[in-house]
């Protein structure tokens, strides 16, 4: 095999593994859109803030990674609930734009809080896998990316069971497909919405932690890129579709790593946005979305 082919496959592998974190963030955006029919722009920053909370605990206690991880997940779930209350439940219903603008405000607010608390400096994040590498034929699997992929896979499996095998999951799908009928079946929208914000918040917390440990640090500079990548993932997958977000996240990861290899870091995001643009023109409903009516 030529060196080029080996490199291309290596990038494909890296992108595929790293894409699992995009998938998690995309799932969050897409699930919230599913039940609310509105975007929560503060979703990615929820996960980031959760990861920061985990980091805070780490600095206070020097506790093991699992503790940092659990703290991040719990905190992100709580922040998710706060966002549901502040940006959706307490917003006037007659102004459809109000929640969107509120979540944008929340995004920058959380960003500011983090910047102030950390003086805007990146902070080292514990990496449970260290610099472990695994050889697979001529290729290398980075330990942290492999770890990220496995944990993401577990989270997706748990989400699948929750959405398709539980009463709450049934209610969640009912609300996203037909909210009026859901209420007529006795399903309370506020409780389902709150549950979805908590659960997606926790998923965001997992993503934030995994990204923190793969990158090696956390920085307020991550919040915008993660927000945009999460949104792109959700749109590519088809807003509201969880399988769509998973496939789109992995795809986006691969495209970014290949773009990085061929064009360099400066052009990576440009390729991402061209991909988004192409999708919006040729397949606006996304990979798994319903065809948009004219």
């Amino acid at each position: 095999m030529t060196d080029l082919a080996i490199d291309v496959v290596q990038q494909l592998l890296n992108g595929f593994l790293f894409g699992s974190s995009y998938a998690l963030i995309g799932i969050g955006f897409t699930m919230i859109f599913g039940v609310m029919d509105k975007l929560n722009l503060a979703f990615a920053v929820t996960g980031l803030a959760g990861a920061y909370t985990g980091l805070l605990l780490f600095h206070l206690t020097r506790g093991p990674f699992i503790l940092v991880f659990l703290m991040a997940v719990a905190a992100a779930g709580l922040i998710g609930l706060v966002i549901e209350l502040a940006c959706f439940r307490w917003m006037p219903r007659d102004y459809p734009l109000a929640p969107l603008m509120a979540t944008m405000g929340m995004l920058f607010f959380v960003d500011e809080v983090v910047s102030h608390a950390t003086h805007g400096r990146p902070m080292a994040f514990p990496a449970p896998m260290g610099q472990v590498m695994m050889d697979v034929g001529p290729w290398l699997v980075r330990g942290d990316l492999g770890f990220m992929f496995l944990v993401s896979l577990a989270v997706m499996g748990a989400l699948w069971a929750l959405v398709y095998k539980t009463r709450l999951g049934l209610a969640t799908r009912a609300v996203s497909q037909q909210p009026v009928a859901a209420q007529l079946c006795g399903i309370g929208l506020t409780r389902v919405n709150a549950a979805v914000f908590i659960i997606t918040g926790m998923v965001g917390g997992v993503a934030g932690t995994l990204i923190g440990s793969a990158v090696g640090n956390l920085s307020p500079l991550l919040s915008l890129p993660l927000t945009v990548k999460g949104l792109v993932t959700a749109v590519l997958g088809g807003l509201g579709s969880i399988p769509g977000a998973i496939v789109a996240g992995l795809l986006l990861g691969i495209v970014e790593y290949e773009a990085l290899y061929f064009f360099g870091i400066g052009y990576r995001d440009m390729v991402t946005y061209l991909l988004l643009f192409a999708f919006l023109v040729f397949r606006p409903g996304g990979l798994f979305g319903q065809r948009v009516g004219r």
Binding site: R167, A171, R173, V180, A181, A182, Q183, C185, G186
Partner: protein, 239 residues
């Protein structure tokens, strides 16, 4: 059983119901006729708790119902088969029925399962389609599903909003047979219909809603005897 008194419901500045009073008696089929935009759907949505009345009272089995949120109305024993059926399109027929039993899904699983079997016996077609996504069903099948889903909540009062809308005459016939059967089994029914002839054939009592007000009420034969109403809603030439 259900008493609606002077109910006013508005969308912003527009009053859709301008003081509606009516009653649905236990064990009867009560039908509400009226033209498009008269406020029929608004009335059912107000009773079901999807909309809140501005004023007036709604009592069910002697207890106040007005302002109760929709999920709690279901718990009180009232189910609505909404206009356009509103099935959950990407959920299977089986899951749609489970969603209908949502309020007792957690604590009463065994009864839900037996009700599910009973529902499949009543609507064998739904059993054939149990695993199929509801969105792929025909209009008539979706209407059956919407009725079955509402029944899964074990209502004492079943409200149906235009169940014949957009369906072939043969299917409409079936739907009204179901209405009669359910009523014979003791379920009180409040039926909104544009198909006045069909509705009157199963109803014990009829109300005519026009521009947010009750314009007339009486027995089906009194409705038919009224020349102006017959001409407008039954297409019978007066003479």
């Amino acid at each position: 059983m259900l008493e609606v008194r002077d109910v006013v419901t508005s969308y912003g500045m527009i009053q859709a119901l301008k003081g509606v009073s009516l009653a649905a008696r236990e064990g009867e089929v009560t039908c509400i006729l009226g033209p498009n935009g008269a406020g029929k759907t608004t009335l059912l949505y107000t009773i079901a708790g999807i909309l809140r009345p501005r004023s007036g009272s709604i009592t069910f089995e002697g207890r106040e119902l007005a302002g109760t949120p929709a999920p709690d109305v279901v718990g009180r024993g009232i189910s609505l088969v909404p206009e356009n059926r509103l099935v959950f399109p990407q959920m299977s027929v089986h899951e749609n029925l489970l969603a209908g039993a949502y309020v007792r899904l957690g604590r009463d699983r065994a009864r839900v399962e037996s009700d599910l079997e009973a529902m499949f016996a009543r609507f064998p077609l739904l059993k054939q389609r149990a695993g199929q996504a509801a969105g792929t069903l025909s209009g008539g099948e979706q209407q059956m599903l919407a009725v079955a889903r509402a029944l899964m909540a074990r209502p004492r009062l079943l409200m149906m909003d235009e169940p014949s809308l957009g369906l072939a005459p043969m299917i409409v016939e079936q739907i009204f047979q179901i209405v009669e059967t359910l009523n014979r089994e003791g379920i009180t029914i409040l039926l909104v219909e544009q198909n006045a002839r069909m509705a009157l054939s199963v109803a014990h009592r009829a109300y005519l809603l026009e521009q947010g007000r009750i314009a007339f009420h009486g027995t089906p034969s009194e409705v038919s005897a009224n020349e102006a109403i017959s001409r407008a809603y039954l297409g019978i030439k007066g003479g």
